[in-house]
């Protein structure tokens, strides 16, 4: 999402133009007050303590000691983190595996004149309310929902499948949110990949599969990495799908364990313990920053 650098400095009528400061000042001040300050506050409040349900300013490591000691004993937070890592990574991989062929079809299969419409149709769901889409998925995936009714009628299954309130349902919800974004990223990358290279590869005798595997796929690597980063950040930070479709403690291979984001939300809703909630959120920030840095390092092509 960064800007392509200007190719050359522009000759302005007035190099010392004050426009620069007039343009930047509002946004810098605004983000300073309403973005940077809250984030610093978040970190600071994580060190506060709570007495009689009131947050007391100060500096104590109690929240963190408590959270980390529970990582190894009662394990609620540890399992929630593990669950999040598991759900977020599998959902992201699934999203890319499902959307890549879709984007490929959009670029190379759909006729040029229909492409804009096809893309628009694919990102259309993104424009309707996420929480209502999740509600609709509830209707579909419920024990007596459309999906089970259909399968029972077709006699594919004898008993309704338990999908709702599992992390499988959570994944479906997140996937549905993620798919339009991933499709758009992959579509743009694939569409802008150098056609001359593809033609050259074909002309030099490569099969279609070789052209895809050795030329197109490497060309689209940045798009895959950006999609993966979006996928991880969105699914690790997502609250709604885990609650609405996962039922709070969605069953998964680890057992019925909530996602970390659900724990953070419930911690606040249940106890309004802002210091503890802040400490948990800070931990999530740090983990995501590490993942982001690793991802960006990966997407940086090695210099030759």
């Amino acid at each position: 999402m960064s800007h392509p650098p200007a190719t050359r400095p522009i000759a302005t009528p007035n190099e010392r133009s004050g426009l620069k400061y007039i343009g930047l000042a509002p946004v810098v001040i605004y983000n300073g007050i309403f973005f940077l300050l809250p984030l610093l506050f978040l970190i600071w409040i994580g060190f506060w303590s709570t007495e009689n349900y009131r947050a007391i300013p100060g500096f104590s490591l109690d929240n963190y000691i408590d959270i980390f000691s529970q990582l190894f004993t009662r394990s609620r937070y540890a399992y929630a983190l593990l669950q999040t890592a598991w759900v977020a990574s599998t959902t992201t991989i699934l999203a890319i595996l499902l959307c890549y062929p879709f984007a490929l079809m959009l670029v190379f299969g759909v006729p040029e004149r229909l492409q804009r419409f096809a893309v628009l149709l694919a990102i259309a769901p993104f424009w309707s309310s996420y929480i209502l889409r999740l509600y609709a998925w509830q209707t579909i995936l419920n024990r007596n929902g459309l999906f089970n009714t259909l399968l029972l009628k077709l006699q594919v299954i004898q008993e309704p499948l338990p999908i709702i309130f599992t992390q499988v349902a959570t994944r479906i919800g997140i996937l549905h949110y993620l798919a339009p974004i991933v499709i758009l990223i992959l579509y743009l990358v694939l569409r802008n990949s150098d056609r001359a290279l593809l033609e050259a590869s074909r002309n030099l005798g490569a099969t279609q599969w070789q052209t895809f595997w050795r030329v197109l796929l490497p060309l689209s690597k940045p798009g895959i990495i950006y999609s993966a980063l979006f996928g991880i950040i969105i699914s690790a930070g997502d609250v709604l799908s885990g609650i609405v479709l996962g039922g709070g403690t969605g069953r998964s291979i680890f057992g019925p364990i909530p996602l970390f984001s659900t724990v953070v939300l419930n911690e606040y809703a249940g106890t309004t313990n802002l210091p503890r909630t802040s400490a948990l959120a800070t931990i999530l920030v740090i983990l995501l920053l590490v993942i982001l840095a690793a991802g960006l390092k990966l997407s940086d092509p090695p210099r030759d």
């Binding site: 999402m1 522009i10 930047l24 605004y30 809250p38 079809m105 769901p125 743009l188 930070g237």
Partner: protein, 277 residues
């Protein structure tokens, strides 16, 4: 641009591949559209419970929606917060994008990264962070807080989109205006701004959508006056009603209008059609 097919030499197996591809495309579209179709169809279903078989048509859930009024009231709140937040973010975003696009200065790259960062911090974290600050400022639980915090998360999209549009502007355009005697402000007002209008309108649309749909931050900072997603969330927990399908259908109608705007404004910018106007 002409379409170049991966398949320069069509054979029977490629036709089969094509068929599989089209089936796949259809399947994915079904997956993408399924929840929305479900909402729309069941908003007219007579039975209280959205299950098959179909029991008949009704409009009573729409009646319920307006009689109860709570969701409609939240829709009202959302319908002033989101356009206002989108407008504020777009103005701030345009100013920043213009400076970043036109000027070279020390720390420019750093600044453009810093300004984009709010979009990669999960709303959950921002929600907790905003609550911490706002509760100190005695601002929590107010509608204005949702507006103030939403602007933060909308600025990055505005900067990115308007910046993209500006980067597609021929550099000589502004210089030509100066050479013809326009002042900086005149060139900005009469040349750069008109050029940016698709980007500005597109980013407003996108920002509006983000704000209109944002749940977690609004959940943390809102009090009794809830935006629509927060109100829907409370409904999901307490009293499930087919009125949710009805409001879903109404929102989908709004979003179709937005989509037309997206089709006209955003997609050309994203696809980089430089000579569109």
């Amino acid at each position: 641009m002409t379409a170049i097919k991966l398949s320069a030499r069509p054979t029977r197996s490629i036709n089969l591949l094509k068929l599989v591809g089209w089936l796949y495309l259809g399947g994915m579209y079904l997956f993408l559209m399924l929840p929305i179709l479900t909402l729309v169809i069941f908003s007219f279903e007579n039975s209280r419970f959205p299950t098959l078989p179909w029991t008949g048509w009704t409009l009573r859930w729409y009646g319920d929606l307006f009689r109860d009024g709570r969701l409609i009231q939240s829709l009202g709140y959302s319908l002033w917060i989101s356009p206002a937040a989108a407008a504020a973010a777009t103005v701030l975003g345009f100013c920043a994008a213009y400076v970043l696009n036109r000027f070279q200065f020390l720390g420019k790259k750093f600044l453009s990264i810093v300004l984009i960062i709010p979009i990669i911090i999960p709303p959950l974290i921002l929600g907790v962070a905003f609550l911490g600050l706002l509760s100190r400022l005695q601002l929590q639980g107010k509608l204005i807080s949702i507006f103030l915090t939403h602007v933060v998360i909308l600025i990055p999209t505005a900067i990115a989109l308007i910046g993209l549009r500006l980067s597609q502007m021929p550099k000589d355009l502004e210089e030509a205006a100066w050479n013809l005697g326009a002042t900086e402000w005149q060139a900005l007002w009469r040349v750069v701004l008109p050029w940016s209008i698709p980007g500005i309108a597109g980013s407003w649309l996108l920002a509006f959508t983000f704000s209109f749909d944002e749940f977690v931050i609004a959940w943390f900072v809102s009090g009794f006056k809830q935006t629509l997603p927060v109100a829907i969330y409370t409904f999901l927990g307490a009293n499930l009603t087919p009125a949710l399908n009805a409001i879903g259908t109404l929102i989908f109608l709004i979003s179709i209008c937005l989509l037309v705007g997206v089709e006209l404004l955003l997609i050309p910018i994203l696809l980089g059609q430089r000579r569109s106007s």
